[in-house]
Every structure is written in structure tokens, then in C-alpha cells.
């Protein structure tokens, strides 16, 4: 057999390949929490939650090309909203997620309005301010937020009887809850970027004036990008609390925003799968670094590694890990467009949010 294999999009062979690949991935995701240790499952849960946050940043940076350093604050708002509603108002965890989404969307939309007049690093600068202010605000309003001590949520996610999960396996139930929400968010992101809204975002990224001339409402598109992006980050915050059941202000500092940005670029900007890689990266890379070099290492530290990777990726692989993966995959399997009139040709929106420019 000669490599690479060629698959024509739309043929049954291509469908079979995609279904097989999807089933394999789904099976791995489903079986994982039952075969690995409890603490690994919890790491995976956090990785999934961070993947949603990276996805949020991806919606902004990957499609409109703007950089936000304020996403730590949106994750924080989401986490605190869930913690407060669950702990003080006895809501269920999942019920808080629509609230988080709406709240962070509104917040992001409002912040997107000044961002309209701002270009390049100015937005990064303004949102950096947001990231710095958030922990300070949390500490100031300590009546609601618990101030510096943080806020503990004392309600577990208890698996209902039909799951057959024994007591002590709450972490598995949490995993599936977080996973379910994350899947919804990823499908939403996929649909969003493939829709008219997403096309408008990409047009703006490529040429703002050109987009405006073609009838894209630039102002509305930019603010909505920021709104959705913030909303996804907020939901990620809610998901994180489902696992950690604890929030404290300094978790959501500027550092988290820069880690998100690193995860975005390392995973692969502009791709959905890159966001998953990025989310896992945020959990496992610092953990293994600390395991390997010890927590008090002088030079080999997570922050140093993040910095080196962020700079390195810019020089070596601007498309991140997913770009490398695709390059490798193209040696084995190549998917070619269907033999149809050129007018019907469309790229697969699930994998190709934007082209690297």
C-alpha cells in the first residue's frame, strides 16, 4: 500500500474514516475515568474545563486576531458566580452555567465597546488592567466573596442512583458533567464559527476595512466576539469550581491569562482540537515539570517553561501542536475535496476555524 492514502471528501470511505475516528475518541473519553486513578480523573476534568477557556480565547484571538489578557477575570467571574449561587443560594451546579454565560457575555460585550476604538496592543493593555483589577475587587467586596480567604463550596456533585456509581466516585460523575457541558460548548463554538457571525469575524481579521465595505457590521461583530469569548471563559470558570469546589482571588490573576494565551498558541490557534490540547497542556505540563524538577527548582519552573514555549512557538511552529499533528497526518492520510463544481466547495468548518495568516 502506498502512503499517503487518499480519501475523497463526501465518499463513504471518508465517512467511515471520520465515524471510526470519532467513535475511537468517544470510547477513550468515556472509558478514561474508569481506568485511571481518581486524581488523574480530576486532572482530566480540569483539563477539559481549561479547554473551554482556551476555546473562549480562541474565539477572540483565533477569529478576530485580537489579544485579551483579561480572560483570567472572566474565568474568575464565572467561578465566583457558581460558587456564590451554589453555596449561598443552594443552586445546583449545572443551573448556574446559563447565568454565568449570560453574565460574562454581558460583561465581555460591555468591555468590547471601548475595545472597538482600540487596536493591536491597546486591547491587550486594557484587558491586562481588567486582569489586575479583578482580584483586587474580589478582596474589596469580601462580604460576598470571602475576600482573601476565598470561598469554599461544601456541596458535592452526587451521582444519581441510575448511574450505579458507588459513594466515593463523585469525581467520575463530576468528570462526566464537566465533559457534557464542554461538548455542548465545543459544538456551539463550531456552529458559531461556521455561521454568518463567524464568517464576519474572519473577514474582520483579514481586512477590517474590506469587511466593512462588504457589509459586515464591524462594531457589532467585534463586540459580539468579545462577548462570546468572555462567556466561554466564564463557563470554564464554573466548570473548574465543579471540580475544585473552592475559589480564591489570586487564582484568577494575570498569570492565568498568560498561561491561557500560551496554551492557545501551543495547542494551535484557530482550531477546535488545538483548544483541547491547550487545556490539557495547562494541567499536565506544569504538573510534570514540578514532578521532574521538584517544586522548588531554580531554573526549570512552569513559568520559565511557559515563557520559553510561548516565544519558541512564535518562531518555530506558529500553528502550534495541531499544525505539527496535521503535518504528520498528511503523510498517512490526505483528504481531497469532492469532485464537484468549484462553487460548492467548502472547507470543513469543525477543524478549520481560520487560515493562518
Amino acid at each position: 500500500m502506498k502512503l499517503p492514502l487518499t480519501l475523497r471528501a463526501g465518499t463513504s470511505a471518508h465517512s467511515a474514516y471520520r465515524v471510526a475516528f470519532g467513535l475511537l475518541a468517544a470510547a477513550m473519553v468515556f472509558v478514561a475515568p474508569f481506568v485511571v486513578e481518581a486524581f488523574r480523573t480530576r486532572q482530566l476534568t480540569q483539563g477539559i474545563a481549561f479547554a473551554v477557556a482556551v476555546l473562549g480565547l480562541n474565539l477572540l484571538t483565533g477569529t478576530t486576531g485580537q489579544i485579551s489578557l483579561g480572560h483570567s477575570a472572566f474565568i474568575g467571574v464565572g467561578a465566583y458566580t457558581t460558587a456564590i449561587l451554589v453555596q449561598q443560594q443552594s443552586w445546583t451546579y449545572l443551573a448556574t452555567i446559563p447565568v454565568t454565560f449570560a453574565l460574562c457575555f454581558a460583561l465581555g460585550y460591555a468591555i468590547g465597546i471601548p475595545a472597538l476604538r482600540i487596536k493591536g496592543f491597546h486591547l491587550a493593555l486594557l484587558t491586562l488592567g481588567l486582569a489586575v483589577v479583578f482580584p483586587a475587587l474580589v478582596k474589596t467586596f469580601d462580604g460576598l466573596t470571602g475576600g482573601t480567604n476565598g470561598l469554599r463550596v461544601s456541596f458535592d456533585l452526587v451521582p444519581p442512583p441510575w448511574t450505579g456509581l458507588p459513594v466515593g466516585d463523585e469525581h467520575i460523575w463530576t468528570y462526566f458533567n464537566v465533559l457534557a457541558v464542554a461538548v455542548v460548548m465545543f459544538v456551539a463554538a463550531r456552529n458559531l464559527t461556521a455561521s454568518r457571525v463567524g464568517r464576519a469575524w474572519r473577514a474582520i481579521r483579514q481586512h477590517e476595512t474590506g469587511a466593512a465595505v462588504s457589509g459586515v457590521n464591524v462594531a457589532a461583530s467585534k463586540t459580539s466576539a468579545f462577548g462570546y469569548s468572555a462567556a466561554f471563559a466564564g463557563v470554564a470558570g464554573s466548570l473548574l469550581v465543579m471540580d475544585t469546589q473552592f475559589v480564591s482571588p489570586d487564582t484568577f490573576a494575570v498569570l492565568l491569562s498568560i498561561q491561557l494565551l500560551t496554551a492557545l498558541f501551543v495547542g494551535g490557534i484557530g482550531t477546535l482540537s488545538g483548544s483541547v490540547v491547550g487545556g490539557m497542556f495547562m494541567v499536565f505540563v506544569p504538573w510534570y515539570t514540578a514532578q521532574w524538577a521538584g517544586p522548588d527548582a531554580t531554573i526549570i519552573r512552569p513559568g520559565v517553561l511557559y515563557g520559553l514555549l510561548l516565544i519558541g512557538v512564535m518562531f518555530v511552529a506558529p500553528g502550534g501542536v495541531m499544525w505539527l499533528v496535521r503535518k504528520a497526518r498528511s503523510r498517512v492520510i490526505v483528504v481531497v475535496p469532492p469532485v464537484r463544481p468549484a462553487s460548492e466547495h467548502r472547507s470543513d468548518p469543525s477543524e478549520q476555524m481560520t487560515q493562518q495568516s
Binding site: I67, G120, F121, L126, L137, I258, I299, V304, Y306, I311
Partner: protein, 297 residues
Amino acid sequence: MELLLQRVIDGLSNGAIYASVALAIVIVYKATRILNFAQGEMAMFATFIIYVLSVDQGLPIWGAVALGVLLAMAAGALIERGLIRPLESRSDLATVVVPLGLFILINDLAGGIWTYETRAFPALFPAGLDDYVEIGGARLRFETIGTWITFLAVFGLVFALLRFTKIGLAFRAVSSNLESSRLVGIPLGRTLMLGWALAGGIGALAGALTANATLLQPNMMLGILIYATAAAALGGFDSIGGALVGGILVGLTESLVVGYVGFIGAELRLTVAIVLLAAVLVIRPQGLFGTKTVQRI
């Protein structure tokens, strides 16, 4: 009245530090059109080196400062050559992301080497309890006077360098129009490296002044960077004089607002700078003295 005067003096004291970091930011921006998010961290690292030279190696403090400034200038030039220039033709994203990478790298590296404990920095100026002059009941400490003299000396030097020397002329030409400068034969690389070196040196000095006014700690420049960028934005990112005016205004605003608006406690100090920054960016993005950018389509 005494209290007002005291707050003005405090504001001016901080303002000198903000203005010096803002000056470094402006010089880098003029040279390469990049906002160096890592400027504060570079300054912090240089300050630790000054600390090591002075406390561990026993150099007199001003000798250590001089050596630290030189090292920081070399580091600034190297960063421009090694990390920034190769990006010249890449996307706008890269020019924002690479300084952020440097930011987190330098911060964590300093934390690893010197830990996050606070240290007292050797006094740069007479800082005894009696070292102040009284003006209308308010205390003007020698430290404040020293900070201002140092800053004005640096500002004067930079201004003279850019105004009266040949390399300064080249720098202004490059800053005004890169392509035309290249065409008339100005050595671009050397000029841009000079910009980053100058900024590195000014940053090191600003770091020493900060550590002298507060305590030495790897996170000491995080807040200062926000104030300084607010100052640079207010003055205009490409205006040297704007950095001076912006620094003073931000320092005064911070001191007066925190002093007179009750609910803004120590935690919300930075918010003042950020609100100011947002207001400038929205109302007058080019700042007070900056050049308005016009884009050809």
C-alpha cells in the same frame, strides 16, 4: 492644606518612578512600535543584579547601579537582536506575544533564583528619620528629591542624546519613518538596538529607584508597569516629553484620588490607573502629545 501638600509630594514621588518606566516604554515603542510588556520585569531582574553586586559582592551601591545599568543595556540590545528583530516581518500577534513570553519567563526565573521574599534594598539616598525638609508642614524626604534628581538627569541625558547627537538623529529618523530611513542609508539594526539598550538601562535605574522606595521582590514591577503604561498612554506612546508629563499626572491622580475618595482602599489603588488608561484609550487614543496614526488603505 498640609495634607493636600503632602499628597501632592507623595504623588510626585511616585510620578518620577512611573515617568522613568514610561520613558523606557516610549523609547522602545518609538524604535520598534512594540509595547514591551516585559519592560518592568527586565527592570526587576536588573535590580536584583544590582542587589547582588552591592550586597553579596560588596560594591558601593552607586557603583553597583552603574554596572547594573550597563548590563541591562546589553541585555536590552541582545533581546532586540535575538527576539524582536526576527519578528519584524511576522504577524502583529507575535509582537504582542513575545514580550508576554519574556514577561512570564523573567518573572518566574527571578522567583526561582531569589524567591518571592521581600528584601530591603541598600539605600540610594540619605533615608534616615530626620532626612527631610519641611515645606508648609508637609515633609519632603531627601529620597524623593534624590529620585527626582536622578530621573531628571536621565531624562536630560536621553533628550540630549536624541536631540544633539548623530545617532540620536538616526533614532528620530527611524522612529518617524522606517522605510525612508533605510533608503537614506541609516544603519537600522544598530539604531533599533540602541533604542532597546537605552530602554533597558533606564528600566534598570527605575527598578533601583522602585526597590529603594519600597522593597525588592520579583513582583514589585507588576503594578508599576500598569501605572507606567497608563502614563505612556496619557502622554502619547511616541512622545518622550509625554512620558514625563504622563508620569507626573498619573502619580498625582493616584495620590489624590486614593487620598480623597474614601472607598478606594489600598486594594483598589491600581484601579485608578486602569480607569485613567481606559479613558485615554477611548477618548484620545494618541494621548496628549502623541502622533495620531493615519492608515493608508
